[in-house]
């Protein structure tokens, strides 16, 4: 009796609370959330899909921020919300280092935590090149879609067709080797070494030695020098494959 009575009282209180203290949420948020892919990757810079859905409805956030959803989600969001559709440039990640164990040397045997940041903290990393990819897979572990592979020669490689461009790997890499670039740009300088040519040659056979040849061959000044390193300007068209042919260390590739 007592327990039943207490239950009734509590039930009544709950019913009362549900009626008078209810939070009225815009029903469109739920619908927008259904349209979003639910990857919770954070690539839109919101704390997951639910937060982005709320921001779209409540704060009028741009609808073209979802990387995994791509153009399809943008179009569906535009139709549902009755706004003009926008376009989204698809970005993919690229690891700007080509020096795997076949081409770049290691200076000691690292026998510790299999994580790039941890390895980097031990005597500056086991790779001879202090700028190169360590290959312990920190980027691969943070990738929400498994787009990054650590090759048997221990270097990280992004599969551009799988990559959703969320940028999680960009922040995870302790050596800042990963960049987000427009997906249609295919030609890359796979080196991030700030060292001068002779030093690069000592530690890696596929590093940029700063010969500047590619900067003269590339159209639209799409490759510029940053010190002794050739850097692709991804805002400019670069189609000429001459830069690939003429690079003496073969560090320019098409992917």
């Amino acid at each position: 009796m007592v327990i039943g009575g207490a239950g009734l009282v509590c039930g009544a209180a709950l019913a009362f609370a549900a009626r008078f203290l209810a939070v009225h949420e815009d029903p469109r948020i739920e619908k927008v959330l259904d349209i979003l892919p639910g990857a919770n990757c954070g690539g839109c810079a919101y704390a997951g899909c639910a937060d982005y859905a709320r921001a779209i409805v409540v704060d009028n956030a741009p609808i073209n921020l979802c990387a995994p959803g791509g153009q399809e989600v943008i179009d569906r969001l535009a139709a549902f919300l009755g706004v003009a559709s926008q376009t989204r440039e698809r970005n993919v990640a690229i690891v700007l280092c080509g020096g795997d164990d076949e081409h770049a040397g290691r200076k000691f045997d690292y026998n510790g935590i299999a994580d790039c940041a941890a390895a980097h903290a031990v005597a500056g990393g086991d790779k001879q090149c202090v700028f190169g990819c360590l290959g312990y897979g920190t980027c691969a572990r943070v990738c929400p879609v498994g787009a990054i592979e650590i090759t048997p020669q221990r270097i990280a490689r992004v599969h551009p067709d799988v990559c959703i461009g969320c940028g999680a790997c960009v922040d995870a890499c302790p050596r800042h080797l990963i960049r987000l670039v427009p997906a249609e740009r295919r030609i890359h300088v796979l080196c991030s070494s700030k060292d001068k040519g002779p030093r690069v040659k000592e530690v890696c056979t596929v590093g940029c030695i700063g010969c500047t040849r590619c900067t003269r061959l590339a159209e639209n000044e799409a490759i510029r020098m940053d010190g002794a390193l050739a850097v692709v300007d991804y805002s400019k068209d670069l189609e000429s494959e001459a830069v690939i042919e003429k690079c003496p260390t073969r560090c320019i590739v098409k992917r």
């Binding site: 000691f108 935590i113 005597a123 500056g124």
Partner: protein, 442 residues
């Protein structure tokens, strides 16, 4: 006061000390090498700023790096010569820091030194000034600037000065040789520190596996009138760590996140006391130290008086070279820093260069924690390394910080006893780096 009965036994491990390799070797002075690479990051805190330029002539003892901040120390030229380069070079721990390369001219001409033999009549502040000017830092390993330690805030009362001659790290015999050969200098240095702090009680702590060092130090302390004594400590690694030593000697526990001064104690290494002696009595800055070059691949293990900036390669050559070395460590095997090559150079805190043969080091795979609890029994800081390593493996730094990862002293006891060969110290260092970065950003 808690009765002695309830004091837990000090915790630690008993690694084979291997000191016999170099213990009997008297300190030899290394001839002037052809190049000296003096790092500006030889101490805890901000690296010094180079104050010389390429091509400049310097004299022995001249300041070449100026302290850049409160916790920082000056750096001096170890000999006279010409500055060959001022550039970034990898430090012993890895990340690059500015370094000054000096090519000696062979004359070894001193800059003007200001000796202060009448230190007993000199005010404490002036002595601290001299010690700071000489760039003296803790030479036991951490490299904390000594002048900062000697200026405790007025609300902290220090009643005991501990001179640390424990040298609990295996292989190393640099402090041991110093105590045998130069006890008077250590003792005078200790007296200067005690004078600066106004401390009455001085204890010299030495592990009981060095009876002749205990006898040598007791010989010089005997004439002292105040409350001074040489205390023999049970041989136990890491008894030379300052918090563990205070506990063993005074029964006081340094609180979590606190400093020895919080419990009225101050610990200085014997080599630091010696450097304080030189800084005050002769005005000589800290430009050389004793380095133990040891390990089975070293043809003639020695204790070498080497100038700061001496390349490890020159040290190895002086000791007959290395034969079949598979691993190089700056410092001892427990807390030392593994080196990728012999390119490193002696710093103020480099007490040893250790080479290990391939049969002495194993590459192993780290396995999951089996929960045996050996690391908990061994941890001298009273932490639970097993739990911490699980959190840190999962990169849950918040949880690790809540479990006091910052109190880890990185002594390596947990990794030493771990049957699963887990890289415990590396985990702890990551956790500490994260927690330190967080407290800086707050």
């Amino acid at each position: 006061m808690v009765p002695r009965l309830f004091h837990a036994r000090p915790r630690g491990v008993h690694p084979d000390d291997r000191k016999a390799l170099s213990a009997a070797m008297p300190v030899e002075t290394l001839p002037l090498p052809s190049i000296l690479r003096v790092s500006m990051a030889q101490h805890l805190g901000a690296p010094a700023t180079p104050v010389v330029k390429k091509g400049e002539a310097v004299r022995r003892g001249q300041r070449i790096g100026a302290a850049s901040g409160f916790i920082s120390a000056h750096v001096h030229a170890p000999t006279s010569g010409t500055v060959k380069a001022v550039q970034d070079a990898p430090t012993l721990s890895g990340p690059p820091a500015p370094a000054v390369d000096i090519e000696p001219d062979g004359e070894d001409a001193w800059t003007d030194l200001q000796p202060c033999p009448a230190w007993r009549n000199t005010p404490a502040a002036a002595l601290v000034e001299r010690i700071a000017e000489a760039g003296v830092v803790g030479m036991g390993g951490a490299g904390f600037p000594t002048h900062v330690k000697l200026q405790p805030p007025p609300e902290k009362h220090i009643d005991t000065l501990i001179i640390n001659g424990a040298e609990c790290e295996p292989y190393l015999t640099a402090d041991y040789r110093l105590m045998l050969e130069d006890p008077q200098r250590i003792w005078t240095g200790a007296c200067i520190i005690a004078h600066v702090l106004g401390v009455e009680r001085v204890r010299i702590a030495i592990e009981d596996n060095k009876p002749d060092a205990i006898a040598a130090m007791a010989g010089v302390v005997r004439e002292f009138k105040g409350d001074a004594a040489v205390v023999s400590l049970e041989t136990l690694y890491p008894q030379g760590a300052e918090k563990q030593q205070i506990r063993a000697l005074l029964g006081r526990e340094v609180p979590s996140g606190g400093l020895p001064m919080d419990v009225g104690a101050l610990v200085e290494n014997v080599a630091t006391a010696c450097a304080v002696h030189d800084a005050v009595l002769t005005g000589q800055p800290l430009i050389e130290r004793i380095v133990t070059v040891t390990g089975t691949p070293v043809q003639r293990p020695k204790n070498v008086r080497a100038r700061i900036g001496t390349c490890f390669n020159d040290l190895a050559g002086f000791c007959g070279g290395l034969k079949g070395a598979a691993k190089l460590i700056a410092g001892g095997p427990m807390m030392g820093l593994a080196q990728p090559s012999l390119d490193g150079a002696v710093t103020k805190t480099a007490s040893g260069v250790l080479a290990l043969a391939s049969e002495e080091c194993t590459a192993f795979e780290s396995l999951p924690c089996i929960g045996c609890g050996r690391c908990i029994a061994a941890c001298p800081a009273g932490l639970v390394p097993a739990e911490l390593s699980l959190y840190l493996e999962a990169e849950d730094y918040e949880a690790a910080a809540a479990c006091h990862v910052m109190d880890c002293i990185e002594c390596g006891c947990c990794a030493y006893v771990c049957p699963a060969r887990r890289p415990m110290v590396q985990h702890m260092r990551r956790g500490k780096a994260w927690a330190a970065a967080r407290s800086r950003s707050r």
